[in-house]
Amino acid sequence: MNTIIIEGLSFSLPLFIIAIGGIYSEGSGITNLALEGLLGFGAFFGGLSYAILSRTFGGDPTILIYASLGFAMVGGALLALLHALMCIKFKANQVISGVVINMLSVALTAFLANQINASFFGQPSNKFLLEVFPKATIPLLSRIPLIGAVFTDFYIFELIIIAVALFMAYLLYKTPAGMHIRACGDNPHALAAAGGNVQKVRFWSVITSGALSGLGGMCFAYSISTTFSPNIYMGFGYLAIAAYIFGSWKIGPTFLACILFGFARSGGYVLVQKLKLPSSYGDLVLTLPYIVTLVLLLFFSSTNKPPRALGEVYDQAKR
């Protein structure tokens, strides 16, 4: 049971922060199918920064590890910049832009990782080695039966994610900026009439989604393989999309969805092991989160309300 919780959380939380990214972008009215590409590019950027920094400075990796999270956010934001330009400036179809950015991200990271490793680090490779992310256990809390596992052997980044998530929730639901973002997703013209700058709000929302996805992607890179490699594109971005749609574009319910996905996954692994099923049954177990989502959506879809202006190109002239 402990493993289910520990592993479940270490999967759920990065997923959650990516999903929050999605909520920001879509909450402001810009469809974002590019999360997968954004998280990959963020992880690439973080991995690259770690490779460079550790070669230049050496020394204590801990600081570099945290720095790489920051760089991953920058990387995600950079690629998100492209999505923002495409959707806001060039008025491209947002769904298409998302799909293409995913393709671009895969091609670009593979190309750059190879090229950079070969030309700068003098070794052919498409990955960047990372350090293990520090883990911690909170002394007393971890003793509590069952719930204790939450405080046991967690990655420090889980704390960071929770902190960031709380901050993002605060920003979205309590501050004027958040009000404007939500207004943009519902009726951008209302914001414009109230003197807000729709393009700017949307732009920063998309950038934020990139930064958060980058953060999540980097955490996946650390927790799964302690490397950046093209294997990072495992479809977690799409899962995050499912999570926030499931959570009806609200941060609270989305958190629950992510926890559900994470526990279904880690629980599945444990189940297969405990029942001594052949490993091929793992495939069936892995379908659990998806089937659960589908079934639940059957019941909740009618009440599921996407932001009203989602996917619409904002045109001041249009009424």
Partner: protein, 355 residues
């Protein structure tokens, strides 16, 4: 047709291509070692040049198509991996191109294994390398529980697994250890004949997440040394080891994986066991250059120094006594006194008898 128009070899130098499966020539292990062999050759023959070609899908048919796409361009094609077994047909149609095939023998259109004059196919006695890993693990474990994690139950992987298990059994019988090899029932492998071979198989060479889960599960059951022969999946096991605060060590495979094992100022690599492909690839290229090339299907073993383990200082964490005992076993393997179990060796590790 046009193949005859190629330049005489001596003047232009060999034009070499290496075709790999998705992980590419920079996978830090199997493919890269082959590539290094070519690079070594090119370094000594500056007129020669090499092109690395990666087939991105990993599909068998796609692998062959990639080879066929470029075959006319090159004097030598180095094909690394099981996926290229079907190359036989292509080789027959392009007799002027030499093929170096690693880890498998060529098959014809009907799937029968064949020997061809322009194909040098090498496979390795991975069971020997696995054996060294098993002995090393048995000697170094503190919990008396060790394990082996593999990717897919291809013969090469089963050989590693069987060799490892043989090594542990050998150590238990002859070197005074009492070590158990852990297996997760849910991870038993099925070899190419469909037989259940046990072991811990991730089912893929590229599934880091599953690799990590297996590593953690084995660690949770008490293993403190894991032999990892699983390609990129192995990275996941490495991660599990790196997160264990030094309690879990791994033995690398194919090449010296020391550099992949650093964690902080420490390292999780106990040692790596080798499959010496680079030297053999370079040797065959030299033969092509000299004109002494002959097609063959070769099984390479310790007697040609094609298998082994890392004992170089600073690249392993074996104790001196372990290294000494390993050296002794190495000599016995070289001589053929010890024959570890292998996928098609006719006996399983449990049936292994020390002569």
């Amino acid at each position: 047709a046009g193949a005859a128009e190629k330049q005489p070899l001596a003047e232009a130098g060999l034009n070499i291509a290496i075709i790999t499966t998705p992980s590419g020539v920079d996978d830090g292990s199997f493919n890269q070692d082959n590539y290094n062999g070519i690079l070594a050759f090119v370094k000594n023959h500056p007129t020669a040049k090499v092109t690395a070609i990666r087939e991105p899908s990993g599909d068998v048919a796609a692998a062959l198509k990639a080879a066929a796409d470029v075959v006319a361009e090159y004097d030598v094609l180095v094909c690394t991996g099981f996926q290229f077994a079907g190359i036989g047909e292509l080789a027959m149609e392009n007799p002027n191109t030499k093929f170096i095939l690693v880890d498998t023998y060529p098959t014809d259109a009907k799937g029968n294994s064949v020997e061809l004059p322009n194909v040098y196919a090498m496979t390795f006695a991975e069971q020997e390398s696995g054996f060294f890993a098993g002995v090393a693990a048995a000697l170094e474990t503190k919990t008396n529980k060790v394990a082996v994690v593999n990717g897919v139950a291809y013969p090469s992987n089963v050989n590693y697994q069987y060799g490892f298990e043989t090594g542990v059994i050998y150590a238990n019988q002859k070197l005074g250890t009492n070590v158990q090899v852990l297996e997760l029932a849910s991870r038993a492998g099925t070899d190419v004949t469909g037989a259940n071979v046990g072991g811990n198989y991730a089912g893929s060479f590229a599934d880091e997440a599953t690799g990590k889960v297996i590593g953690q599960q084995l660690f949770a059951q008490g293993a403190d040394i894991i032999f990892v022969a699983a390609g990129a999946t192995g990275n996941g096991v490495f991660t599990a080891a790196k997160e264990s605060n030094g309690k879990l060590k791994v033995i690398g495979c194919d090449v010296d994986q020391w550099d992949d094992g650093t964690v902080g100022s420490g390292n999780i690599i106990l040692t790596s066991v080798l499959k010496v492909m680079s030297l053999n690839v370079e040797r065959v290229l030299n033969q092509i250059q000299d004109g002494t090339f002959k097609g063959a299907n070769m099984l390479l073993k310790a007697d040609t120094d094609s298998t082994g383990f890392v004992k170089k200082g600073g690249r392993n964490q074996l104790s001196t006594s372990t290294i000494q005992k390993l050296d002794e076993s190495y000599a016995l393997v070289q001589k053929g006194t010890i024959v570890p179990a292998s996928n098609f060796g006719g006996f399983t590790p449990e049936q292994f008898k020390v002569n």
